[in-house]
């Protein structure tokens, strides 16, 4: 992933420093490389295959891997597993990214406003977060899916709406620390409005912890979607996600173990890579925490 490249303002030594530390971290680089490969495969792979993900072939059901031109075999309807796996990976990655962006928008805004405003506003806003924390969220996501149908957009929003709480807490505590700094005082003395200070001076300085948390939210969102899919409330057939593929594979695992094995491996590899990259980013961007869990 080119997260570091995207967020790197030129000539800032903190980021150059972090980049150097990150590149020295072998597990993080390995995680990032796997993610790049997976993302490329998910983006381009489906166009390179001779089979479509929803192409039913009654003459080629339950084919084992490496037979009949199907690299990873076929399922009960004769659909090519590799094609479905690549499309499923694409859907899962998209859900991970978009849900995280949703949670990012809500969480950063909420946390930055609460931290910057302080006092009463802060207290009320954070108390709301506390209350939301103690809610059985998965139930609300399930209710949402049941009530309004399982649209992809709704999945994005529902998962994003669940994942923003921690983000807002992180952002708030950082903002509280940042607003004491001299450059914020200088901006205020120069006559900037509060909104402009938050946008131009606070939020850019929050990037470090936010980037770290983003790299850990994406796998959490992918996991949440696959959980919904497993319960039959996520992505609907013939569309696939890693979760639906695993759920389907688990049903037929004695007949066709490859249907469970390959999606599981891709799922675990994806989540593992994100977590390794996230841990590496944390060590690189937040040197104080380097004594903590690896």
């Amino acid at each position: 992933m080119s997260l570091a490249a995207v967020t790197e303002p030129p000539g800032r030594s903190l980021w150059a420093d972090a980049q150097r530390r990150l590149l020295r971290n072998r597990t993080a680089v390995a995680g990032a490389s796997v993610l790049v490969v997976l993302a490329l495969a998910a983006a381009a792979g489906p166009y390179l295959l001779p089979f479509r993900y929803d192409e039913v072939d009654k003459t080629a059901v339950w084919l084992a891997p490496l037979s009949g031109g199907h690299l990873l075999g076929t399922d009960a309807l004769g659909r090519d597993l590799l094609a479905r796996l690549l499309v499923g990976l694409r859907v899962s990655l998209a859900i991970g990214l978009v849900s995280t962006v949703v949670s990012l928008l809500i969480g950063v805004t909420w946390g930055a406003v609460a931290g910057f405003a302080g006092g009463r506003v802060d207290e009320v806003m954070m108390r709301i977060v506390d209350v939301l924390y103690s809610m059985p969220f998965i139930f609300f996501v399930i209710l949402l899916m049941v009530a309004f149908g399982t649209h992809l957009v709704l999945i994005f929003v529902a998962i994003g709406a669940v994942e923003w709480l921690t983000m807002s807490r992180i952002v708030r505590s950082q903002t509280l620390a940042l607003k004491q700094r001299e450059f914020v005082e200088a901006a205020r003395a120069a006559g900037l409005t509060s909104a402009a200070i938050v946008r131009r001076h606070i939020v850019p300085n929050l990037l470090g912890p936010v980037v770290v948390y983003v790299s850990l939210t994406i796998p959490a969102a992918i996991l949440a979607e696959s959980f919904l899919s497993f319960l039959g409330l996520g992505v609907q057939p013939p569309m696939a996600s890693l979760g639906t593929l695993i759920a389907g594979g688990a049903q037929d695992m004695e007949l066709a173990p490859w249907l469970l094995a390959f999606p599981s491996v891709v799922m675990i590899g994806t989540l593992l890579s994100f977590n390794l990259l996230g841990d590496g980013l944390r060590d690189a961007l937040d040197p104080q925490s380097s004594g903590r869990a690896p």
Binding site: I138, F140, I142, S226, R292
Partner: protein, 307 residues
């Protein structure tokens, strides 16, 4: 202490009310009703059935009636299981979920704390690396992957354990589901413990204890572990939520007669009262465990003030 408890209970009431309100209106916003899936009812009968459950009243009135009922401890009758109240359904099925969740919590905590402490003591050793690799993997392998894999290995291939079913709570039937539920908890808790232990082993009070010549085991158990398990204690609330989520999947995979299976099914069938009852019970459970976590934390750490 009493003031703290009173305050927390006062906060819990609006939280629960918010949960009830959200769930109530989300459920009602869903298209369809509890009596749709049946053979088409004649208009008069449908009117009577709706009137019987008060579903013909304005939504606001239904909401007030429901909340008043909950305040009296009455969760109403089930709309699908015609002769049962929601409380009866909860009572008949909670035991399986409770045994499952509690065992996973206890095993997860013990194994997690033990593993974390050992890993911190032998930092960068083989055990530490192994434990932390396991911890990362444990977070990355979803329960619905571990469950079928373990079933494939221990039930289908080796034939040591039954692949599904409750069988009156026989130990052999419990092992796999509890293992699947506990594994992610072991991963998170061992990581938290290890991080806490590493910090605590460096702290002044542990150095003092060492300088006084206390035995190694006494230093670890009495002095180092106490602050080290604090993050684990505060994880109790989220752990409960995670276990509840996990139990939805695990009860389904292992075909266990617990509460988990009712939720999704009842939501799909628009059994409003059963869904609401479960949301309330689970929300109360999470609130309760967060409260217990705070109390334990205060007992372990004299710096924490209950206010």
């Amino acid at each position: 202490m009493l003031r703290f408890l009173a305050r927390r209970l006062l906060v819990a009431v609006p939280t629960l009310l918010l949960v009830i309100t959200l769930a109530f209106f989300m459920m009602r916003a869903a298209p369809g009703g509890p009596f749709d899936t049946d053979r088409r009812l004649s208009p008069e009968i449908e009117k009577n059935v709706l009137a019987r459950y008060g579903l013909d009243r304005p939504l606001g009135e239904q909401y007030v009636t429901y909340v008043a009922g909950v305040a009296r401890g009455d969760l109403g009758p089930s709309l699908k299981y015609r002769d049962k109240t929601v409380l009866q359904i909860l009572k008949e099925n909670y035991l399986v979920s409770l045994v499952l969740g509690l065992s996973a919590m206890v095993i997860g905590s013990l194994a997690g704390v033990g593993l974390g402490v050992l890993a911190a003591l032998k930092r960068d050793g083989a055990l530490d690396r192994g434990a932390m690799a396991l911890a990362v993997l444990g977070v990355c392998i979803p329960t619905f992957v571990t469950a079928p894999l373990l079933v494939l290995l221990f039930a289908s291939t080796l034939g040591w354990l039954p692949s599904a079913g409750w069988n009156g709570g026989a130990l052999a039937n419990l092992i796999l589901p509890v293992l699947v539920l506990a594994l992610p908890q072991v991963a998170v808790i061992s990581r938290l413990t290890r991080a806490g232990m590493i910090e605590s082993l460096r702290s002044n009070h542990v150095r003092t204890a060492r300088a006084k010549g206390l035995s190694g085991s006494r230093i670890v158990l009495r002095h180092a572990m106490r602050p080290a398990v604090l993050p684990v204690v505060s994880y109790l609330g989220p752990a409960t939520a995670a276990l509840i989520t996990g139990s939805l999947v695990v009860e389904r995979i292992f075909n266990l007669p617990g509460l988990g299976k009712f939720f999704v099914l009842s939501a799909l069938q628009r059994d409003y009262t059963v869904v609401m009852g479960m949301v309330i019970i689970y929300a109360a459970l999470i609130l309760l465990l967060n409260l217990i976590a705070d109390l334990v934390q205060a007992a372990l750490d004299p710096r924490v003030k209950l206010s």
